[in-house]
Symmetry: C2
Subunit: 418 residues, 2 copies
């Protein structure tokens, strides 16, 4: 494996009082990991000069790549840029392409005059290489000192991501990655992490030391990733392909996709390939399934729309769920979700439909219906199928897991597995 | 400002490959902050002896309280406990109350035999004070060295939380005479960070040095936070209250809330207080507004439901948008969103409605309608109002910002500002 090591330094008081949960670090860590660069540590510091400098010095002691995020916004609490300018012995100059870009954003997009503070965002230390930021007003910066590379990125997640993907990772890849690296990723659903580990123990045990298996559980599904390193790309690709085929066989009945894509992307691709459509009828998820089905580009070709029947009245008026179902077996029932799926599919005239009704918590449970109980229904032009789940997370997590399980049931119906 | 300072050290390879988002640190930071203990930094390291030791040494250089989480589980890759034992010069002994507790968990709860790995969890260094963990099998530990306190806690979030609340915070509170600290937070909408900063520059400039202002932008809104420190709580509260009132006046026309809550929570509270309801008609956000309105507990009292009219056919069939509107001015138009809001409000019989239609990208723009153009409509029983926005983010971010802007327009209608 490659010996290059990196440190992430996240800057901002908001991280030290716990107001913000740091998701940037996880993204950066994942991407570095894919290149085979190992993260030695992550340091979070506040907007304090001496703490930022101390973090820079600590990082430089043991790693070659230092990635800083945060502290580049237009407001007065941002001290990172002048600090870096001093630290690397430069002076501030205006970066003309960035100034033109910021001006364009204000004149043509915001349609508002620029103020001095905005203009200042185009200033950079003359000792850095500017990483041009197409997605925002704060430029990224690359400094080099004693063979160590310091990347300074804005803390806004989508801007940080864009700069990582378009500047930082290509640079690191060119500069540091000498061994070849290859990944294969698959997604499983319907089996817990420990059972999956038990099931594929024989596979994991026979892996050579230069191919590693990682478990990445999320939303009640488990993603598996093989990462191999080697000296020649062809030999490595061959070897990892063979191992990946073995892994796919071992998890066959739970396999959702052998690519690095989400459940909703898999379903979207399936529907597009068949020229088919889906609609949704959501109670407890309140629109989250619709959101997942429509969050990727091109979803208008297969996602027609949905009814969010949060109130029971809407279930009756828009989805024809009989009031006596609601008063006897209740809204969280097989009868209710099957009717919901059937009705929305017919009314929106789609090939498939998915419906959910459940108790996401906190509270709302009864003696017969525990917290986390959720019914999911799926329908096509011939039949309706439903299944009950019992979740044990907090409200938001329950919503996310329900939506993912619902889309998985839809997938199983599309591929005739139910 | 002289006050007690702390460091958080999170241990675990999973944090360095980005598999896990660290939510523990945010919790610990919040709780320490409430006690007036300021967090100097957070360090994440992998399961590597030398890295953990380096982190301990770095932390001890500048802080009095060091909180470690993770690395105490039953699996083979956990090295923290023996390392701490060596580091503080102890030897491992069995902690009998913990052994009895673990035995009880296996015999009476898991109903499984204990294995050696589980028994080992009851072993602790003889130089620590055991922080008895009622919620799990890994005991917490407190070490003291050269007037610094080291708390070692398991990484499982609910166990870490219990130990923080029941052992660590009471101890810190008693041991350290700290300065008092106080926060005030407000949320603004409808003004960018740099314009806001310009607008309140006079306020910021007159702040005494022991009161700081922070900008926390997200989803096209900006949160402002005042943090003050002082020796007596009453004097500090008085002073910061006066400053906060000034700040509120300065941002008056953009003020959403003077509490630390989200836009959708503000709207939920408003509607609940008036016993009123809202419905949604979403095109480009595909259900995300419904999700935001229903993600918090208790939302069924005000969120009735919605129509996700992703396909234009649904706009016509379910929301009575005339086809000649769609073929002339198009779905992304004032006419379309106003009809959508009006129709869903009437059909679902709610007090308010909100509707959106836009071009979230990538692609889909025309000569007249640029990428990121979105129309938002809101309606009550008397009128319909609509507004056009031009966004410049990626697809997902455009969806999030649209949803937040839509909920803000709804808020403005509810409070009679439009």
């Amino acid at each position: 494996m490659i010996s290059t090591q990196a440190t992430i330094i996240t800057i901002g008081d908001e991280l030290l009082i716990g107001q913000v949960i740091d998701t940037n670090s996880a993204f950066i860590a994942q991407e570095l990991n894919k290149l085979g660069v190992s993260l030695k540590n992550r340091i979070a510091v506040g907007d304090k000069r001496e703490d930022i400098i101390q973090a820079l010095e600590t990082a430089a002691k043991s790693t070659d790549i230092i990635i800083l995020t945060g502290g580049l916004g237009p407001t007065a609490d941002d001290i990172t840029k002048p600090l870096l300018c001093d630290y690397f012995g430069g002076k501030m100059i205006v970066h003309e392409p960035t100034l033109a870009h910021i001006t364009n954003i204000f004149v043509n997009i915001h349609k508002r005059p620029m103020i001095e503070r905005n203009r200042k965002q185009a200033e950079v230390p003359d000792v850095c290489e500017v990483l041009f930021n197409e997605t925002g007003t704060a430029p990224g910066m690359l400094f080099k000192k004693e063979n160590k590379y310091y990347f300074s990125l804005p803390g806004v997640p989508h801007e940080m991501r864009w700069l990582m993907l378009n500047h930082v990772l290509p640079f690191i890849s060119k500069q540091f990655v000498t061994q070849k690296i290859s990944h294969r990723t698959l997604l499983t659903a319907g089996i817990g992490e420990s059972f999956l580990a038990e099931k594929i123990a024989h596979f994991e045990n026979q892996l050579p030391s230069h191919i590693k298996l990682a478990y990445l559980p999320n939303f009640g599904m488990v993603r598996l990733r093989l990462t191999g390193t080697g000296n020649t790309q062809d030999a490595l690709e061959n070897e990892i392909t063979i191992q990946f085929e073995e892994l796919k066989k071992a998890v066959d009945e739970y396999l959702v996709t052998d690519e690095d894509e989400t459940m909703e992307m898999v379903v979207g691709k399936l529907l597009k390939s068949k020229n088919q459509t889906v609609s949704t009828a959501e109670s407890c998820t309140g629109g989250y399934i619709g959101h997942l089905l429509s969050k990727n580009p091109g979803s208008s070709t297969f996602y027609t729309g949905g009814i969010i029947s949060y109130d029971n009245r809407i279930k009756t008026e828009f989805l024809d769920v009989p009031t006596d179902i609601l008063t006897t077996v209740g809204a969280v029932s097989q009868e209710a979700v099957e009717q919901m799926a059937k009705a929305v599919r017919e009314k929106m005239n789609t090939d498939y439909a998915v419906s959910v009704s459940g108790i996401m918590g906190p509270g709302g449970q009864t003696a017969e219906k525990p917290l986390g109980m959720v019914w999911i229904g799926v329908a096509n032009r011939e039949k309706v199928f439903s299944k009950v789940f019992y979740l044990r997370f907090d409200r938001l997590r329950n919503i996310e897991v329900t939506a993912n399980q619902a889309i998985n049931l839809l997938r199983l119906l599309i591929i005739n597995k139910i």
